[in-house]
Amino acid sequence: MARKPLPVFLERSSYRKRRLMDALKLLALFGTVLWMIPTLWPNASDTSVEPIATSRALFYVFGVWIILICLSALFVHRQPMPENGGREADKTP
């Protein structure tokens, strides 16, 4: 299906919308990376290093959670409803 060719360069607001869309798409990746960091933490069985206190771990995990929720809410509400991969949002005047 022939799509109408999109402009190569966008005006500022469309450009921002697109980057917002990118951020929204990357959010899950960002969250995955942050939440997989605990796999690097020293295990309780490893006695050579000071283990991570559970309260710190709680702060970390729930802190990431809150950040992700806020970012997601921000991105979603800044972004008008995209159809078909957000291309509709790229209309230039």
């Binding site: 796999t39 991570i52 771990a57 709680l58 729930f62 959670w65 997601s72 979603v76 991969g85």
Partner: protein, 897 residues
Amino acid sequence: MTSLNVLIAVCLAYVALLFFIAFVAERAGVQGRGDWLLRSPLVYTLSLSIYCTAWTFYGAVGNAARSGLEYVTIYLGPSLVILGWWWILRRLVRIGRSHKVTSIADLISSRFGKSNVLAIVVTVMAVVTVTPYIALQLQSVTLSLSIFSAAEQGAVPDTSDANAPAFWIACGLALFTVLFGTRNLNVNERHHGVVIAVAAEAIVKLVALLAVGIFVVWGIAGGLPETLARIDASDLGTWQTSGSRWATLTFIAAAAFLCLPRMFQVMVVENEDEKHLRIASWAFPLYLMLISLFVIPIAVIGLEVLPEGSNPDLFVLSLPLSQGREGLAMLSFLGGFSSATSMVIVATLALSTMVSNHIVMPVFLYLHQGGASQSGDVREIVILSRRLSILAIIGFGYIYYQASGGSGALASIGLISFAGVAQFLPAMLGGIFWRGATRLGAMSGLGVGFLLWVFTMLLPSFGQGAVLSTDIFESGLFGLGMLRPQALFGIEGMDPIVHAVFWSMLLNTAVFAAVSLVTFPNPLERLQGAQFVNVFDHSPQTQGWNASVAESEDLMIMAQRILGSEEARALFADQALAQGLSGHLPEPTPDFLQLLERELAGSVGAATAHAMISQIVGGSAVSVHDLMAVADESAQMLEYSSQLEAKSKELSQTAAKLQAANTKLMQLSAQKDAFLSQISHELRTPMTSIRAFSEILRDTEGMRPLEKAKYANIIHSETIRLTRLLDDLLDLSVLENGQVTLNTQSGNLSDLLDQAISSALAGAANPIRIHRRRLNERLVLETDLDRLCQVFINLITNAQKYCSASEPELRIVVSEDQGGVVVDFVDNGDGIPLEAREIMFEKFSRIGAQDSNGAGLGLAICREIMTRLGGDVTYLSDAQGTGFRVVLAQPRAVAAQ
């Protein structure tokens, strides 16, 4: 002290309230009121909380009490999935809506060519994997009841005699689900009532857990800093989770979130609007975060406060009870009850849809071959089969609960289920992202993953020696060390869950990909694959029906039995109206059949709907052969049309030739007319003067002899002119009729040309200058020399007469061609106009008005003569001036020595 009876009364009241809510919502849904609530993203988000079951409510605390923060992975996975909604969920929801998918089995079977076998495989797997989960709910409710009864009796809770309540709970849940879930049939009409009830229960469980959490943190521990200090000081005070378990559990939870039949039901099937996903993308992680927020505090304080040996799975209940907060305990119990009931309702609903659509209905249709339109009421049978499925599924759950002894920790049972449904992930994601995924690939991947899951996770979960003997655990299946259920391929020391998930998912994916790569999908699979993968590009159209045989009436009867007679009539009447027909029955156009199939698919699943329509339409399900036939047909048509094209080209060429011939004929006819008037003029002119002068001679008296001689001369010369004209005509007619006899002699060309030139130029006042190369002319010819000479004379005379140059010249060039002599006569005149060249060799053709005394027969005679002599005379169009070429076929032209 809360008595059991009060508890049961509260439960019943709660259930009655749920019924009431569901009833009101359903009424509102039917009447189209309350859309702002029924179709709001809030309700959608809350309904997603069906993910949080009794496992969450009780089991998370138990899990946290045993292994610290690990429990949170079960919520991190789904959070990531819904944060990444744009990638997978958006696609799933779009596919679900455009293809009227009713379940995950329907999705997978639909994607892989509406394969019923695959649907059955997925359904069976789903039933097997979800059964432990349902058992888990039974167990948790039974446990929570037991703790109240124990508290009543003042004894330590004892779970061994809990079988009787478990049975009644199972019955209650079954009744509840049957009443709730099978009231209306079409899954695509969506269970407004169920969804609203689930949303209400979501609020109850969140509020209950938060209330207990707040009570624990601020009521028992004395504030946030104190709680944190007590956490760090407890046994759970340090990070204990291994990295591999952390990552594996997150992954498995994410996979299960996508693949669990009940999640698929609320997330995809019950989805009203894709936009709801956007709200849910932050609201649902928020819900998950809140529900898991107080788990660690409850676990830590529970371990501290409660007596040694208390079941940590029930801390949520036993903590408030131990503090004498019965109201809170009651709320907490309701929360747990909500979690269990909502999960069981939606899960059995989803499963029963799958079982009835993919197992019962196909079997029914098979047993009633060709009877979809004649036999009994299919609608009743669908509902009955659903109800029976519900009972069976809950029955399985109860049996599993009995068999496993109700002793396992809640979390580990839940994980077994999760790992089981995660086996759907490769086929599902492969199906919606990869067009190359094939049915055989999906089937093999699912099979391998499922077998590995059974062997490494499900069977060992009953304990060593229960189903698998201790021997198998130690030395492997069939004594093969490679096949130990918890150390496959001889790799030991992995955590059992990580081990099972790792191997089953890895081999599942690998086999799926490998088999897909080497097999070839059938056309329907490829069509569906393209539609699923490119769901955002395509208008959602599946393949059409060839409806030539389909009877609208039969379709109507069948549709009535599945959709209900009112709905079916309305649908048919709408379609008839849309087609511009006045009756109630629309024409069975492919579009209509497709729409009908979609509608039916909403009730009985895509594969069954496809099969039912194909029965009526006359078994015209698109098979490979059909498609091949279609392809052949179009190839034939292409060939035929190219043949037609060639023929029409030929025809138009012929027409052009005819046109040309006709034009020539017209020219000839015009010429002949022109000649006739010319010839009559030519004949008349001398005749007139002959008559006039002979009359003068006859009538004039006393004419002088000189005058007489003059007049007689005129008469004589006119007679000669007439004679010449008649001679020419006669000559031509003789030549044309082939009556001429040739007088073959041999002679020298040079001499012949000399003779011709002297004859032609004899008596000319201003003879044309002739250029010749005599050296080339020394050839001996064997032909009718007189006739040839006549041709030469004619050509030279023409040049003499018509050359328009001021100093006319004629070059006579003789050359030898292959087996012939060529004589060119080229003058320095203007040449002959293009349009005249065509006809100048015809009889009576005269060029221009200058040719006053010729009759236009000369060149025609020349051509006739040359044809007789076996040669030709042609116009030399590339000569400088007017040129004629005489070609004389000569077997051997010998140079005259």
